[in-house]
């Protein structure tokens, strides 16, 4: 439970509140009780002065009964415990408690202690020193006692009785003891009030903080957590609902963005993998179908030759020959699709290709009342592409868009523009050499259709060749070795056996050896020699910043594609057109764009339309 961020925050805030309110309450109660006691002290002092001055006259006249009467009357007040007058010898001469009259009080008793600590009694002491707070026994209420000295006076030694000699300074003391019962009750009451207030305040603060923490932190964090769990389970379509513009909200947006990118990357990767295996399958199928087709085509064209004088046969045979030729073209296009051939590229103007493509499908478009809107960037640079293939892509996309719009008319929007993207995962190593300038590019071995880098691995008596991915950042290296790489293994140029290992460096990720290659005029490319590490670095490319692409968007206002179909539309043989389509169109498109090192993505909303976004790198790598 204490692992939860919300609870922790609440505990931290509540603790702070307890400390602050506690300290505040302590000082508040303290000053309150000090104030109250001072008030009582003042009151007692005043009372003492009153007693002394009201008994003065009677003392002069030595009318002891009257003095006792006054003291009794005062002593009857509720809060006053007793009122005593002691003479200089410590004998209680008057008291509101008659039983203790004429008793001797020890000089060390608490009432006397204030003045009689030293050998000679002090004659002038402050009010604080004259006051004492005490308890009769541990469970009794507190009392405050105040002693007031009765000073000698001229009138005292000049009075008729002449009871006191003139050299005496203090004639006796008045001791009044007042119960602090009321004051203590008051203090306890205010203590309880403050504690109750503190508890209420702490609980309230806890709840308020808890409410906002839950609202601003806990529930969005839980949403994010749930999202990451969904993504880690492979659900890349998960997106987090909008969480506002604060930091967590931004985190959520960047999470959504990341997931989307991840989904796209996975899609491309998946597609490329599928295409490769499908290519092999298609090649096999084409080969198998071509043999029986040869039988049909040769026999039928043979019959066609032999039945020249029979027009009826001729007609039928021509259909067979024609249709077999058509099958041959279909299989050929299947093979074209399967073939990992490098496109026949030349310098072309994308806008021009788009215009040509529109011309080709113009009839079909006007038949379906489809309007084409062009938002073409006039400043588009020329680009090295296979114009025919790219035209095929656009024609296919336009026909698809027109089919999606149907007979009721709509709009196709084509836009082109130049964009810049980061080179990591795109840049290709075309030339690489060892220190002796031997080329390390292996035209015989291709990774994803591109000649790979070859490196000889020598480990004791074993040696073999590994191939490294020529695309910077993709890291699809092929380690086809029948022995393990260890620390003594060396990586050398296959021609001159010169080591490619960089001496004073090791992989920052796993500590393995770093291989370095000189890239003709493009700096040095470094890659970790371990099969499991994905460290690679190519400063030249990193420093060159973003690379440029031409982005072509083709949007229609057609029926749209459901999410379910969206993930499958680039799959071969997937078609929503029923008997009308082969399901190869978009798969071929994908293959063409992939061969141009480009990407194609699709966005669609059912009922609103579909947008295909094609990106072609401006600098073609071959």
């Amino acid at each position: 439970m204490f692992q939860k961020i919300g609870i922790r925050l609440i505990i931290a805030v509540a603790f702070t509140a307890i400390v602050i309110i506690g300290v505040f309450a302590y000082f508040n109660v303290e000053s309150h009780s000090t104030g109250l006691i001072q008030e009582v002290e003042r009151h007692a002092n005043q009372l003492s002065e009153t007693v002394i001055s009201s008994t003065r006259f009677d003392m002069m006249l030595n009318q002891r009964e009257r003095i006792q009467e006054i003291i009794n009357t005062i002593g009857q007040q509720q809060q006053i415990r007793d009122v005593r007058i002691l003479n200089k010898e410590g004998i209680i001469t008057y008291s509101s408690e008659p039983s203790i009259i004429n008793q001797m009080v020890d000089k060390n008793a608490e009432a006397c202690y204030a003045c009689h600590t030293a050998d000679e009694p002090l004659e002038n002491i402050s009010i604080t020193d004259r006051t004492r707070i005490f308890k009769l026994h541990p469970d009794s209420t507190r009392y405050i006692g105040i002693i007031t000295p009765i000073n000698n006076d001229k009138s005292c030694w000049e009075a008729h009785c002449h009871a006191h000699p003139s050299d005496q300074k203090v004639l006796g003391v008045l001791d009044i003891t007042i119960s602090l019962d009321d004051v203590d009750r008051n203090i306890i009451k205010s203590e309880i009030e403050i504690v109750v207030f503190a508890i209420v305040a702490i609980i309230a603060v806890g709840f308020i903080i808890g409410f906002f923490v839950r609202r601003w932190v806990v529930s969005p964090v839980n949403d994010l957590l749930n999202g990451t769990q969904q993504v880690s389970m492979g659900n890349l379509n998960y997106s987090i609902k909008d969480m506002g513009e604060d930091e967590i909200g931004k985190l959520g947006q960047s999470f959504n963005n990341m997931t989307k990118k991840l989904a796209e990357a996975r899609m491309q990767l998946f597609q490329s993998d599928k295409m490769a295996s499908l290519g092999r399958l298609a090649a096999g199928v084409a080969h198998e179908i071509n043999n029986p087709l040869t039988g049909v085509l040769t026999y039928s064209s043979f019959l066609l030759k032999r039945t020249k004088d029979n027009p009826e046969f001729q007609e039928d045979l021509k259909v067979i020959v024609r249709e077999t030729m058509r099958s041959r073209e279909i299989v050929k296009s299947l093979l074209d699709f399967a073939r990992q051939s490098v496109p026949k590229k030349s310098n072309a103007d994308i806008n021009e290709i788009i215009n040509k493509s529109i011309e080709v499908v113009e009839n079909q478009l006007s038949m379906n009342k489809v309007k084409v809107e062009k938002q073409i960037s006039a400043e588009l640079p020329r680009i090295t592409v296979d114009a025919n293939q790219i035209q095929q892509v656009f024609i296919n996309l336009l026909v698809n868009a027109s089919d999606a719009i149907g007979k009721n008319g709509g709009t196709i929007t084509i836009s082109t523009k130049k964009i810049s993207l980061s080179p990591f995962g795109i840049a290709q190593i075309k030339k690489a050499s060892c220190p002796k300038r031997h080329s390390l590019i292996d035209p015989e071995y291709k990774i994803d259709g591109i000649p790979a880098l070859k490196v000889k691995v020598v480990s004791g008596k074993n040696s073999g060749i590994i191939h490294l991915d020529p695309i910077y950042g993709k890291h699809r290296n092929h380690f086809d070795l029948d022995f393990e790489i260890d620390t003594s293994t060396d990586f050398v140029c296959p021609e001159c056996n010169l080591s490619l290992v960089q001496k004073d460096k090791s992989c920052p990720k796993c500590g393995s050896k770093i291989l370095s290659f000189e890239i003709n005029g493009q700096g040095v490319y470094e890659v970790c020699s371990s099969k499991n590490s994905n460290y690679e670095k190519w400063d030249f490319v990193d420093s060159s910043g973003l690379s440029d692409f031409i982005e072509i968007k083709i949007s229609d206002t057609g029926s749209g594609i459901s999410n379910e179909d969206l993930s499958k539309i680039f799959d071969p043989f997937f078609s929503t057109k029923g008997q009308k389509g082969t399901g190869l169109g978009l798969a071929v498109i994908w293959g063409i764009i992939d061969n141009h090192n480009g990407t194609i993505t699709v966005d669609s909303e059912v009922g609103k339309g579909t947008t295909f976004t094609t990106r072609l790198p401006l600098t073609q790598q071959r």
């Binding site: 090649a283 040869t294 026949k344 025919n388 035209p443």
Partner: protein, 268 residues
């Protein structure tokens, strides 16, 4: 050598063999067959065939093994390669290794017949040359070999890099000699892209035979030889200079040149 059939057909599919037999019966060739590489090698060791029609992909090996075997035994049969897996690589490799033609499956009767026709003519020329050289009758040239700076794709087409970076391509004289006199040439258009090993031009002969020329390099056509359009026979008169067919901007000359045979090697 014992008298045997004119043509050996090697294919692992019986239906192809049957079809080829039928076609060849139209032109009175005698046929022998082999269903795999091993039996084919046995047969070429024992017999001489003028023409060998050979599939590339077979269960116990590929057609290139048979070409190697022929080279090793110094047998100069004309080889026509055929395959259901008709890739550019296969086509180029076949011609590089000395096959006189490459026919992708499925083929029509005419396609095979025209190829056989050229193979037969090729054999005749070779035989005449042998007779000439055996009679020490030097100067009788039956065809003009390509100039030394040129490169050729098998025996069919040639290319020569020009100083400005473009390349000229044309048809070798030996190929033209295996074709009857030309009636018409079907060109591709300017700005078209052509690829190495893929048909770039069709020659229609007086006998209405269509012969496809495989391009020696990939590139974009920037110029078509207009003189040939008016006068197709120019190509026969001067196949290497005036009779060029296209000027191309090449795509990947360095790489593709490896698949071509330097004409200088013919003169050693």
């Amino acid at each position: 050598m014992s008298k045997s059939a004119d043509i050996l057909v090697i294919d692992d599919e019986q239906v192809i063999i049957d079809a080829v037999i039928k076609i060849c019966s139209l032109v009175n060739y005698t046929i022998d067959t082999a269903l795999n590489v091993k039996s084919a090698i046995d047969k070429i060791s024992d017999n001489y065939y003028k023409i060998i029609v050979c599939d590339i992909m077979m269960p116990d090996g590929d057609g290139f093994q048979i070409i190697d075997e022929l080279h090793k035994k110094k047998i100069d049969s004309s080889i026509i390669m055929t395959t259901g897996y008709s890739t550019v690589e296969n086509a180029v490799k076949s011609l590089y290794n000395g096959a006189i033609d490459f026919i992708p499956k499925p083929f029509t009767v005419d396609e095979l017949l025209n190829s056989l026709y050229r193979a037969n003519r090729y054999q005749e020329i070779k035989n005449k040359l042998e007779q000439v050289s055996s009679h020490q009758n030097g100067n009788h040239l039956y065809y003009v070999p390509c100039p030394s700076k040129y490169f050729r794709l098998g025996y069919s087409s040639w290319m020569v890099p020009e100083r400005d970076g473009s390349v000229l391509i044309g048809i070798s004289d030996l190929f033209l000699k295996t074709v009857d006199s030309i009636k018409n040439i079907e060109f591709q258009n300017r700005e078209d892209e052509i690829a190495q090993g893929i048909s770039c031009l069709t020659i229609i002969s007086e006998e209405e035979r269509a012969h496809k020329i495989l391009s020696p390099v990939s590139g974009r056509i920037v110029e078509v030889n207009e003189k040939l359009k008016d006068n197709p026979n120019l190509i026969e008169k001067d196949p290497y200079f005036e009779g060029w067919i296209y000027r191309l901007i090449p795509m990947d000359l360095d790489y593709e040149q490896k698949n071509l045979i330097p004409c200088s090697s013919d003169r050693i």
